[in-house]
Symmetry: C2
Subunit: 106 residues, 2 copies
């Protein structure tokens, strides 16, 4: 996992913050599959993910249209349903417009 | 660590993604101190953090003015300097406008 090499702003970020249930219940395999599938979507710019107590995944997108299309993807909708029924006790999904970025090293 | 209970959008998010050096070098103590200090700043709305290979910390703010004031805080500037000289091999800091949020359970 590395820091996403995103273009000059503006672009969009989806911040997905979650608390998991105990046990895998197919989560790890589905996550790998969703990462591969998301990376093939038009407008996908990169993603970053970390988990300890809390999980945070940030995906980056060219525009709101590309985020909306990924939300409606058929396989992604199955994953979303399983997320609510099997994997997550709580989550928040925030859609954001990235206005500026600073990097180190510059 | 729980999911930040932020208000209705719009508000702002600072996504800080980082790769660490080996060793602590005062990092854990400074992080605890900075979290306490940030929470006292005008306009602070909450924060979320997770680290495995990558570290992701997202702080939420009322507006760009509150983000700018926190950036210039004297103790925070010392922490920023140590981050570049001691703690991080690489980071990205993205300032975003949160446009909508969905939560589970609703």
């Amino acid at each position: 996992m590395s820091i996403a090499n995103t273009p000059q702003p503006p672009y969009y970020a989806v911040i997905f913050t979650s608390l998991r249930n105990e046990g895998d219940h197919g989560y790890a395999a589905m996550t790998r599959h969703m990462v591969q599938l998301a990376a093939q979507q038009p407008g996908f710019l990169g993603y970053e993910s970390a988990r300890d107590e809390l999980g945070i995944t940030v995906s980056y997108w060219k525009n709101l249209e590309s985020i909306a299309a990924w939300k409606e993807d058929a396989l992604h909708r199955i994953a979303q349903d399983r997320g609510r029924s099997l994997w997550y006790t709580q989550y928040s999904l925030r859609v954001c417009r990235v206005e500026r970025e600073s990097k180190f090293p510059e």
